[in-house]
């Protein structure tokens, strides 16, 4: 019986994130539009876009190999699996015992690796530009992310997200300088990883400034839909990750009944809304940085995470 409940809850979480992720993207767009006094697209527009793309034919470049066709599925699968490991409304998910935070980073890393390959595969100059920029950003974001994981693991005594989340929710944690630094570093990495302003602009029409968009410029139809959905999932993943580590309140535990789960789900949606709103505010208030400033930006994230880890060694109370 317990196994059935576990499977059901894991399945519910996977469905929930799949259904929610375009909404988060739409919500951020809507808030950004309202902040600059525009009406903005309806909240449900990302769903409509996905349906529209799914119905369209795929136009393939003549130079595209099998890799180009396979990559959208790979990217989607790895991102979805990675997200299924992040506790959203309830900790102690069935899958979460089989993989930890490092596995999530590895999954996202492989998704990006394949996407960069696909960008190079068609042989257009924009794909090449996008891939090279994306890999430059990744090579700096991933070390910073790993350093954050080490810092959190040192504090929580585990890299397993449910355990970490439970620890963060306990009274043992308190206010810690290292956690504050880690949170800032994680937000910086999340912005870079999700191709948001100031690192990349998801709404740009300027092909020469694109990073993520340049890489996927040759995709169309259902391939593009899958990649867009993966991008939404990735945004949801990072917001959920930040929420689960730094704002784990309200999450249901393994013993939680239906009422606690409902509370967990509601607070989760509340957290997403706050996260999306803050992201939109931040993106509106800042201009995009020069491509060569990105290493400085991510270098700062790495240094913050490193500092947080070192502080942890200086004193247990930091």
């Amino acid at each position: 019986m317990a196994v059935i409940v576990d499977v059901a809850i894991q399945g519910a979480q996977m469905l929930l994130v799949l259904l929610l992720s375009p909404l988060l993207t739409g919500f951020v767009r809507k808030i950004k539009a309202r902040l600059v006094r525009r009406q903005g697209p309806p909240l449900l527009q990302p769903y409509r876009d996905l349906i529209r793309l799914m119905r369209k034919d795929v136009v393939l470049a003549q130079s595209a190999s099998w890799l180009f066709r396979v990559v959208p599925y790979l990217v989607f699968a790895t991102t979805w699996v990675a997200l299924s490991l992040v506790p959203t409304f309830r900790t102690g998910l069935l899958f979460s015992w089989s993989a930890d935070l490092i596995a999530i980073i590895a999954l996202l890393g492989s998704a990006r690796f394949f996407l960069a390959l696909a960008g190079l595969d068609v042989g257009t100059s924009f794909g090449g530009i996008g891939s090279s920029r994306e890999v430059m950003i990744a090579s700096l974001a991933e070390p910073a992310m790993l350093m954050i994981v080490f810092m959190l693991a040192l504090i929580a005594g585990s890299t397993q997200l449910s355990t970490m989340s439970a620890f963060m929710n306990s009274s043992e944690v308190g206010l810690r300088v290292s956690l504050g630094l880690g949170l800032i570093a994680l937000i910086m990495v999340a912005i870079a990883e999700n191709a948001r302003i100031p690192v990349d602009n998801p709404a740009t029409h300027l092909e020469l400034t694109m990073v993520h968009e340049a890489m996927i410029l040759e995709y169309s139809g259902r391939h593009l839909a899958l990649i867009e959905l993966s991008a939404s999932l990735k945004l949801l993943l990072y917001v959920s990750l930040i929420a689960c580590l730094f704002a784990p309140w309200g999450m249901g535990t393994t013993e939680a009944g239906p009422q606690a789960l409902a509370i967990g789900a509601l607070t989760y949606i509340g957290k997403l809304a706050v996260g999306g709103f803050l992201l939109a505010m931040f993106e509106t208030a800042i201009a995009k940085m020069r491509v060569f400033r990105v290493p400085e930006f991510l270098g700062a994230a790495l240094m913050l995470a490193l500092l947080a880890t070192l502080l942890r060694f200086v004193s247990r109370s930091f």
Partner: protein, 503 residues
């Protein structure tokens, strides 16, 4: 002090060319003029052809005296100006494309406006059959280790005009940019030939839609000069009012769009609102948002500005309330300043050599403004400054626009204050009319030149030269050594016209 044209060897002055003189010279005089350009004694204002002759408009440096120099070339050949003075290069390539006149010694003989898609060659000269197949365009080479080419356009990801940009880059650093334009060639000069005055005025106003007032004004100036028409004072002031409104609208659009290219959408949204307000005020005062066809030779169109200036005054009040906060926002957003400052620097020497006008010239220390010199009514009676900056970067070009907005606001105030009463238009009798005229008008992006020859009651030949002709080549220089991702920002700060250039 003897003027430049008095010193030209073998010059013969042409009658009935107004308001500035036109002289016909031989090859010797032509090359003498070209050397004056090289020495910086004069600035090239325009270079255009017609069947059997080429004309060059110059602005003499110390006196701001304008002259048109003509070289007759019955053999279909003339000595190349660009062999000595590179800014004339594209103009001569365009002449070769359209008229089939061959500039002898032209360093770059690739066609410019003719992409090989027309079913004729030299549509305005001696026509020949079009090419049976399209020849590939030989882009200039840049050689070295690790260089790669990035072709961009003519179809872009956003809704903008078409133009092809060929980058040669080393990683992210641009080594060379080469433009290829001409995709929006509409054959305006060909349509002008033989057109009635009314039709020609409409065509002139459609050369570049964002500068329709300036083009119509330049064309009207040229026609009025050719036929010695006096424009009523009320029309003169209303024309200036429209020109300043157009400048305001475009500068607001540009300031916002430049910031938007640095992904700072807040500024874009606010400036778009201001631009929209200007366009609505224009619509309510002049009956057209862009004020198209409101300026006609002889005056302004009938039935405009009936309700007076209340809308304009409300507009000014609103802009004065909002714009200072936007300037502060631009100046205080560090992430935005980081993008615009020191990006895409144009050297002052290049600006002087190319005679680049508008914000491109004034951001690099060239204080040329056609409203000031040679000047035209009513600006001689109005007080305004010509803002000049020395930085030459994107930031300087934004600041020129910001200061020009302030100047335009003050100008509109003065115009509305002094707006005289009286007739709106002088009738022009075209029956058997004959004459040649030149107009030079300051559009928002720089000086627009219009040259017209009227013969037998029709337009015999009309040439319109956009400011972009001398700005596009500088963009190639500005981006050199910058990174590829900064090109859209540089490009938007130039905001050159494709349509006005491709004609």
């Amino acid at each position: 002090m003897p003027g430049l044209i008095d010193t030209l060897p073998g010059a013969r002055r042409v009658e009935a060319h107004r308001p500035w003189p036109r002289v016909v010279v031989g090859e010797e005089g032509w090359q003498f003029t070209a050397r004056q350009l090289v020495d910086g004694q004069a600035t090239l204002l325009g270079l255009w052809g017609e069947a059997g002759a080429v004309h060059m408009a110059i602005l003499a440096a110390p006196t701001n005296e304008i002259a048109v120099v003509t070289c007759e070339c019955p053999g279909g050949e003339f000595p190349s100006v660009s062999a000595l003075h590179p800014p004339a290069m594209r103009l001569e390539r365009a002449i070769a494309s359209l008229y089939g006149l061959q500039p002898i010694g032209l360093p770059d003989t690739r066609p410019w406006l003719d992409h090989g898609c027309w079913d004729v060659t030299h549509p305005l000269g001696e026509r020949g059959a079009g090419p049976s197949e399209r020849m590939p365009y030989a882009f200039l080479l840049a050689e070295g280790d690790g260089l790669h080419q990035i072709p961009v356009g003519p179809v872009h990801a956003g809704i903008i005009e078409p133009g092809h940009f060929r980058f040669t880059a080393n990683g992210e650093t641009v080594v060379r940019l080469e433009q290829r334009l001409g995709y929006v060639h509409k054959g305006i000069e060909s349509l002008m030939a033989g057109a009635t005055l009314e039709k020609a005025a409409q065509l002139a106003g459609r050369t570049s839609g964002d500068s329709t007032v300036a083009y119509a004004l330049a064309f009207a100036h040229a026609v009025e000069a050719a036929l010695e028409v006096t424009v009523p004072p009320r029309a003169i002031y209303l024309r200036a009012l429209m020109a300043e409104l157009e400048r305001l609208a475009n500068h607001f659009g540009d300031i916002g769009a430049i910031c938007n290219d640095a992904s700072f959408s807040l500024m874009h949204a606010q400036c778009s609102i201001l631009r929209e307000r200007v366009l609505r005020a224009a619509n309510s005062c002049f009956g057209h948002r862009l004020m198209m066809d409101r300026i006609v030779p002889g005056g302004v169109a009938d039935g405009i500005f009936l309700h007076g200036s209340a809308d304009i005054q409300m507009l000014l009040a609103e802009i004065r309330r909002i714009f200072p906060a936007l300037i502060e926002l631009y100046d205080n957003t560090a992430s935005l300043q980081d993008r615009t400052v020191t990006t895409g620097i144009v050297q002052p020497s290049l600006v002087r050599q190319f005679g680049a006008g508008g914000y491109v010239g004034r951001a690099s220390g060239r204080a040329f403004d056609a409203r000031r010199a040679p000047g035209y009514a009513p600006y001689d009676q109005l007080t305004f400054d010509v803002p000049v900056f020395e930085g030459g970067d994107v930031n300087a070009r934004v600041w020129v626009r910001i200061r020009e907005v302030e100047q335009s606001l003050s100008l509109i105030d003065q115009i509305v204050d002094r707006l005289p009463d009286g007739p709106m238009r002088t009738g022009i009798d075209m029956a058997g009319a004959k004459g040649e005229g030149l107009g030079l008008v300051e559009a928002f992006r720089g000086d627009v030149l219009a040259w017209v020859r009227i013969d037998g009651g029709h337009i015999a030949r009309c040439h319109l030269r956009d400011a972009s002709w001398f700005q596009w080549p500088l963009l190639e220089a500005a981006i050199e050594g910058n990174i590829v991702a900064d090109f859209p920002l540089c490009n938007k700060s130039f905001n050159c016209s494709y349509s006005g250039h491709d004609l």
